[in-house]
Amino acid sequence: MRERFEVLAMPHLDAVHRMAFVLSASENEAEDLAQETYIRAFRAFDRFELREYGPRPWLLRILYNVFFSARGRKRLEPTLLDDVDFDHFADEIDQAPAVPVSVETINWDHFDEELKEAVAELRPEYRGALLLWAIEGLSYKEIADVCGCALGTVMSRLYRARQVLGRRLRDYARERKLSTERFDE
């Protein structure tokens, strides 16, 4: 069983460690979180069913629980005050003021470090959803499964995270008098 667990789970260590690093913003804590995740996963392995998503979302869900447990918060904690459910998500977008949109977009190539700083400033729940989407390539359903929240909550958190990042980096560009370059093919 140990060997089967290692064959199934160890290939995903980079993903688990990366998410642990993003959530904790600390390399030392990330390593501890990753180790604790694998130990807990191994202990629960006899109950694990290889469902359609594979072991990676399962491991990430355990990591998510480990991280928030360490902060004294239950996994099924009520969503953040500004989370919305699926039914209200569309209403929220509809009611948001229509910001004049320019065809010019941020050239993210210039903002790698600033982008990471901006991500680190997000709430952990938003950070987690954002990185599960961007780096781990999980679907909304998989993210909801990992985070233990509703689909609408995932959509809401991604929407807000992207908004915050966009605003943060446009402010940065304005402060530094950098132009937002047109995104050219």
């Binding site: 260590l13 191994f42 006899d46 229509a98 977009t105 991500v119 679907s139 959509m155 093919e185």
Partner: protein
Amino acid sequence: MNCIGFRKYIGAFADGELDVALNLEALEHLNMCPTCAARVEEITVLREALQRGYADVKASSALRARITSALQREPIAGEPRGQRRSRRRMIYRLFLPVAVAASLFVAFVAWPRANGPHTDVALATLAADARFQHRTCVALRGMRHHDASLPRDPDGMARVLGRELGMVVAIPDLTADGFALIGADRCGIRGRVGAHALYRAEATKLNLSLFTVHRPARLASFRFGSTADEVYTSGDGELQTVVWNHGAETYVACAPLSAEALRRLVDEVRLSAADGRVRPVLAAVSGFDLAARLFRRDSALSLQN
């Protein structure tokens, strides 16, 4: 759908989360609205920037060793260590001959299909992602989104793309099947950048995509059967996608053809080392697993056949 209506779907569209009907409505809107198209593109670029930013965050070998060592010290769930050892010995004495016979039977029945529903789901997801990417490229950039900096000849395209992406790329000649190569660019599936070759059949106005992408993580754990090429076909009524395997790689082709026609086209292109009709030009890529491979049809050999 207008801009106000599209606003609530921008993220879900960019993430490939809309159903077919909404997806088509969104594509129709994007074809006419560069502003919304720019917003969708911004989300894609943000994702690529985040991937770039965290690409070098990896588990150290020390951490791997630490975890392996910690797992070795963990008891197997449900039993004290001493009892587990004696019970294992008893199990082996009593059941080993039966277990061996059963495993041989299961292996025979399962061969050549070594993976079950989980592989199907992973392949289905990859196929759906490929269809989405095909539609997105067509809607946002048009079929002729050939990168102007690339050479116009297939060999040149393959050489430059390959050098840039760290892989050997070949662009297959599909003119015998009525498809002309109209461009190549750097595109990917779900944000994983790779090579995208675009073809068009003027007689039928059909567009075809061939993708070379890094193998999605969800396929990393699966080992495909190796006795025969397993071809997986799926469609949504409009686009067919074929995902097929040869050796250690997985390949993706997407077009609005019937499943039978696309599979026939794929069969013509697939590696066939036995009869020498096609020759692989693409070599293994260090550091990445391929999700698609592009072959060159050896025209000289074809004429001889």
